[in-house]
Amino acid sequence: MIDHNKKPRFIKPPNKLKMKVGTGGIEERLLDDAQTYIQQTKIDFKPIAENLLKDVMNALQAARNAKQEHEKKVAADNLAGAIMQLKANGGMFNYQLISEIAALALHFLENSKINPDALQVIDVHAKTIHIILHHNLKGDGGKEGYALVKELEKACERYFSKHKE
């Protein structure tokens, strides 16, 4: 049981980490090496992303089928979780465009109410990610990636203009 009368106490724990590591930071060269390692990682993200995308599609379907408010909430949480995984990991494994599109979808989801139109917009994002994976568009996706983002922009603009009124 929470004791609401308890007065907050401030504690300054010993800085064990500082005592262990000392001073001076780490060399710039090592930061560069680590970044190069990330950029040149051989880990194949495509099969992982395909599975994550399946999770997104399943969550989308569950969201479409949700009738009660609590079902919609659970569906929205699951959908946000699945999209977040694509956003988080895409950029770590050289699929920056997937990460950016998933970030937009996540932002959209966290700022919108679940309705058929909003789910359709999320669906367009998921399909764009599917195309990126199908064509193996790594990094920013180059010209094809840019074209896809422009298409996505049109789809979102249609939603925005409809829902601004």
Partner: protein, 192 residues
Amino acid sequence: MAYDLTTTKILIVDDMAPMLTLCKSILSIFGFKNVYLAHNGEEALEMTIRHDPDLIITDWMMAPMDGLQFTKEVRKNPLCPNPYVPIIMMTGFSSKLRVEAARDCGITEFLVKPFTSRDLYNRIVQIIERPRQFVDASDFFGPDRRRRVIKDYQGPQRRDDDDSKQEATKEQKSASDILKKLRDEAQNLSKK
């Protein structure tokens, strides 16, 4: 003179094996020698009790125990040897609500995925050089969610300087600009 990271024990928790591998490699390049890996909160709790890590880096969404629950356990479970151990939450979530929820569970720092090696390093430096005091209150035990301002602080700055925000190439930037504009529109929509 540089940090001596050879005796520091660090625990990484993530349900995605490739992410664990990547993080372990980055930390090894930094100079960490004792890196422990766990695939979920439950496994991480067991390893925390057994190894008493000096620093924990954990993902958010995992089963059977997620990163938030794991953090609460570390702070409150009497079996955990060090309730003050610094915890970095690394996740793809970045909204204010999510960050606050993580802070309320007792995390020390928040690291948004995807991140660069420097982003991760900056969080570690924050923890070493600017540790947060702890608050023990009726409904919260964890690092103080406000940070003290140190006037003569010489270390790296946070958030705005994060490399992941600065490394976009020119082409990427044009696509990014469109995506940013759409994000802003979605944000505006939610305010109406």
